[in-house]
C-alpha cells in the first residue's frame, strides 16, 4: 500500500519532454530573491533553522511524496549526520565544508544500511522497521561516549570555510547555508524531473504494474531511500555547524514525526510544499516557545486538521486551484 495521493486533480497532460515548466523557474527565482534579502529583515539564525528543516522536509518528501514510502525514522539520518559533522569539526578540527561532507556521507551510508533491510517490507511494516532502526540509532547515540549522551556535542566551532571564510558571522554563514539548501532543492528537483523520477512515480502509483513492466522496483526504492537519507544527512550536518550543537533531540523519534508533519502540511508530492511546511512549523515553534506544552497541542491540531481536511497540504491545495503542478 503506498501513499498515493489519489485526490490531486492536476490534469494529466501527457508530456513528451520533461522540460522545466516556466512557472517553476519563476517561483524559484522569486524564492531565491526573497531569501537573499530576508536575513536583513529577520534574525539570520532563525532563518537558517528554517532552511535546514526545509531541506530535511524536502528530503523526506522525495521518499514520501514521490516514492510513496513513509519513513518514521528519518531522524536517524538527520541526527547521526549531525553528530558526525559536530565531532569532525570539534575533535578532528576539520573545516566546516569537510565536516558537512563527512556528515552527509554518514547519512548516506546509514541510509544504505537501513534502506536495504527496510525495503523488503511495504506500507506500515516499512514504517515500523524504519522506526525500529531509528530507535536503535537513538540508543547508540545515547550510549556511545563520543556523542556525549544527554549533553550532546557542544561548542562545535563554526570554523573557516575552505580555510578562508570565517563563518562565525551569522550573515556570512547564512549565505553559505542558503547555497547548500538551495543546491539540495535543485538536486531534488532534478531527480524528480528525470526518467528516474518518472519511474519512481509509476512505482508509487501502481507497484505491481511497474513490476510487470520489467522495472527493478526494489532497486529504485533503495536508490530513492539512499538519496533521501543523504539529503537528510546534509540538512543535519549543516544544522550542527549553524547551531554549534548536536544533541539527542536530533535522533529522537519526535523529530521524525515533526518532519513528517512539515511535509504533510506543506504538501506531499509537491516541490515547494516541504519548504512552506518547514517554515510554518519552525515559526510556530519559535513563536509559541514561551508557552510550553501548547506547541505540542498546536502541532497535534495541525496534524489532525491537515489529515482530515487538507490532505494535499497547502501547496497541494494551491496547485489544485491554479491547475499547475507545484
Amino acid at each position: 500500500m503506498t501513499m498515493a495521493n489519489t485526490e490531486t486533480q492536476v490534469p494529466m497532460t501527457p508530456e513528451l519532454t520533461i522540460a522545466t515548466p516556466k512557472h517553476h523557474v519563476v517561483i524559484f527565482a522569486v524564492l531565491l530573491g526573497l531569501l537573499l534579502i530576508a536575513p536583513f529583515v529577520l534574525y539570520p539564525v532563525f532563518l537558517m533553522k528554517v532552511l535546514c528543516f526545509a531541506l530535511f522536509a524536502s528530503a523526506l518528501n522525495l521518499l514520501l511524496g514521490y516514492g510513496g514510502l513513509l519513513s518514521f525514522g528519518h531522524a536517524a539520518f538527520f541526527g547521526s549526520a549531525s553528530y558526525i559533522a559536530a565531532h569532525a569539526a570539534k575533535v578532528w578540527g576539520l573545516t566546516p565544508e569537510l565536516a558537512i561532507l563527512l556528515g552527509t556521507g554518514a547519512g548516506a551510508l546509514l541510509g544504505l544500511g537501513i534502506g536495504s533491510l527496510a525495503i523488503r517490507r511495504q506500507g506500515i511494516y516499512f514504517a515500523m522497521v524504519t522506526l525500529a532502526f531509528a530507535q536503535m540509532v537513538f540508543f547508540f547515540a545515547l550510549q556511545a561516549p563520543f556523542t556525549g549522551g544527554e549533553d550532546g556535542i557542544q561548542a562545535v566551532p563554526r570554523g573557516r570555510l575552505f580555510g578562508l571564510i570565517d563563518l562565525s558571522n551569522d550573515l556570512t554563514l547564512y549565505f553559505v547555508v542558503l547555497l547548500i539548501v538551495f543546491g539540495g532543492l535543485m538536486l531534488i528537483y532534478r531527480i524528480i524531473h528525470s526518467p528516474f523520477g518518472q519511474v519512481l512515480k509509476a512505482i508509487r502509483d501502481n507497484e505491481p504494474r511497474s513490476v510487470s513492466l520489467g522495472y527493478k522496483v526494489n532497486r529504485y526504492k533503495l536508490a530513492v531511500f539512499v538519496m533521501s537519507a543523504t539529503l537528510a544527512g546534509l540538512a543535519g550536518a549543516t544544522k550542527a555547524i549553524v547551531f554549534q550543537l548536536a544533541s539527542l533531540t536530533d535522533v529522537y523519534w519526535t523529530m521524525s514525526g515533526e518532519v513528517v508533519l512539515m511535509t504533510l502540511l506543506g504538501g506531499m508530492g509537491t516541490i515547494f510544499g516541504p519548504f512552506v511546511g518547514a517554515g510554518l512549523i519552525v515559526t510556530m515553534e519559535n513563536y509559541f516557545a514561551g508557552f510550553g506544552a501548547w506547541v505540542t497541542v498546536l502541532q497535534g491540531v495541525v496534524f489532525v486538521i491537515t489529515v482530515l481536511l487538507f490532505r494535499e497540504g497547502i501547496i497541494g491545495v494551491i496547485a489544485r486551484w491554479t491547475k499547475k503542478p507545484l
Partner: protein, 399 residues
C-alpha cells in the same frame, strides 16, 4: 580636522561622558524548566525570586531599570542554546539565571562566553561547571555534585552505613554524582558493593531495587534526580526495602520531592541542601513572602539561589556604574556574597560561590507540625569545607 568637525566631536565626547546618573537598563533572562520534571523546583518560582530580588534591592531608586523575561528550555541543551543565543543576539538580555539540567547549563555557559555576557547558574548540579568546563563569564551558585556527595556521603559513612549500592541515572549528571559519591565513600572507609545504571528517565525501578536488595548493601545511593528519585523511593517503599533494614540516600533531593512523596514514604531520608525555609528568622521571613506569590508553596534552594544571584549582580552593577560584563563579574568576585538566605560567602575565581551547606533528615509524620515542615537539621557544613578546593577543579582560570 576642520573647526566644525572638532566642535561636533567635542560635543559628542561631552555628551557621552555624562555622569553615571543616567539609567542603566538591565535585562535578566530566567531560563529553566517550566513544564517538565524540574518545573516545580525551578519554573515560575525562579521568576518570582528574581523579581523579589529586584524589589528588595530597590533597583529603581538606584538608577537601574530591570526587565525580566523567562523561557522554557524543556531540559534540552539545544533548546537552551537557541533561546540563549536569541536572547543575547536580538533581545538584549545581559544576564541569564537559573538553568537547571547540567547539559543545558553547559550549552548556555558556552554561548555566554562567546557573546561575552553573564551567566549565574542556580539550578544545575555538575561540578564541572566550575571545574574543567569553567568559564570567566559563568558563576555557579547554590549546590554542585561535589558538595552533595561529600555532605551526604561522609555523613552516612560516619553513621555506620559503609556498604553502598548505587542506582544511577545513565547520563552525565547521574554518572558524575555516582563517581563523586563513590570517591567520598571509599575515602571515608566505606565500600561500593555494586551499581546499576538505568535509562534516563526511567519509570520502573523494581528490577534495580531488587538487585540492590540482594547485594547486601546497607545504603542504596540514588544518583538520580526529580521524578526518577521520587519514583525510586516510592517503589522502594512498595517493596519493603527500608523495612528490611536498608536505608536510602537521596543524593540530590529538593523539598518539592519530599512534598510529592509525603512524609510517610520519605521519613528518615538523609540529604544535603543549601537552603531550607525554616532555618532561621531571615529565611522564614523571605519564604513567607515568596510563598504568598507562589500559591502557598515554599521555596526550594534553587529559588533561593536565583534571588541571591540576582541580588549580588545588581550590587555589582551599582558598584561599577554600568553593565559591562567583565567589570561586573570582576566586581562580583571581589564583593563578598552576603544575603539573608545563604548568609556570608565568597565568589571564587573559578566562578564557584561558597556558603554553608546543611545536612537534613526528613521528619517522621508525627514530628511535623504542618505542610512543608519536613526537615530536621543534622549538621551544618561550613562554607570552607563544603565545596571542592579551588586547586582541585582543573579550571584553567585558577593559576
Amino acid at each position: 580636522m576642520t573647526f566644525t568637525k572638532g566642535l561636533l566631536l567635542s560635543a559628542a565626547l561631552i555628551l557621552t561622558a555624562a555622569p553615571a546618573l543616567a539609567e542603566t537598563a538591565v535585562k535578566i533572562g530566567v531560563l529553566n524548566d517550566r513544564s517538565g520534571i524540574y518545573a516545580d523546583l525551578s519554573g515560575e518560582g525562579s521568576v518570582i525570586a528574581a523579581r523579589m530580588a529586584v524589589e528588595d534591592f530597590d533597583a529603581a531608586s538606584k538608577g537601574i531599570s530591570v526587565d525580566i523575561v523567562s523561557a522554557d528550555h524543556q531540559n534540552k541543551p539545544d533548546i537552551a542554546s537557541n533561546i540563549a543565543r536569541q536572547w543575547y543576539d536580538t533581545d538584549g538580555v545581559d544576564l541569564i539565571v537559573d538553568v537547571p539540567t547540567s547539559s543545558a547549563a553547559f550549552a548556555v555557559s558556552d554561548i555566554t562566553k562567546e557573546k561575552n555576557k553573564v551567566f549565574m547558574n542556580s539550578g544545575a548540579g555538575s561540578a564541572d561547571l566550575t571545574g574543567a568546563k569553567c568559564s570567566p563569564n559563568t558563576i555557579h551558585w547554590t549546590y554542585d555534585t561535589w558538595a552533595l556527595a561529600h555532605g551526604t556521603g561522609n555523613a552516612m559513612v560516619a553513621s555506620g552505613a559503609k556498604k553502598w549500592f548505587f542506582i544511577t541515572a545513565d547520563y552525565a549528571f547521574g554518572q558524575s554524582l555516582e563517581k563523586d559519591t563513590a570517591a567520598v565513600v571509599t575515602a571515608a572507609g566505606g565500600e561500593v558493593v555494586g551499581a546499576v545504571k538505568h535509562p534516563f528517565p526511567g519509570t520502573d525501578f523494581s528490577s534495580y531495587l531488587l538487585q540492590a536488595q540482594s547485594s547486601g548493601a546497607q545504603v542504596i545511593g540514588l544518583a538520580n534526580a526529580g521524578g526518577d528519585t521520587v519514583n525510586t523511593i516510592k517503589q522502594a517503599a512498595e517493596f519493603g526495602i527500608t523495612q528490611a533494614g536498608q536505608s536510602l540516600a537521596g543524593l540530590l533531593i529538593f523539598i518539592t520531592d519530599i512534598h510529592a512523596l509525603g512524609l510517610e514514604t520519605a521519613q528518615g531520608l538523609v540529604l544535603t541542601e543549601a537552603f531550607y525555609w525554616d532555618l532561621n528568622d531571615q529565611t522564614r521571613e523571605w519564604s513567607a513572602r515568596f510563598a504568598e506569590q507562589n500559591g502557598g508553596k515554599m521555596p526550594t534552594m534553587v529559588h533561593a539561589g536565583v534571588y541571591a544571584s540576582v541580588l549580588h549582580y545588581l550590587k555589582a552593577v551599582e558598584a561599577t556604574g554600568g553593565k559591562d560584563s567583565a567589570a561586573v563579574i570582576a566586581k562580583m568576585k571581589e564583593l563578598p556574597a552576603d544575603d539573608p538566605l545563604f548568609g556570608k560567602g565568597e565568589v571564587r575565581a573559578d566562578g564557584r560561590v561558597t556558603h554553608d551547606m546543611y545536612l537534613f533528615k526528613v521528619k517522621a509524620p508525627g514530628d511535623s507540625k504542618g505542610p512543608w515542615d519536613y526537615y530536621e537539621t543534622l549538621a551544618t557544613i561550613p562554607a570552607a569545607e563544603a565545596f571542592r578546593p579551588l586547586a582541585d577543579g582543573g579550571c584553567p582560570l585558577v593559576n
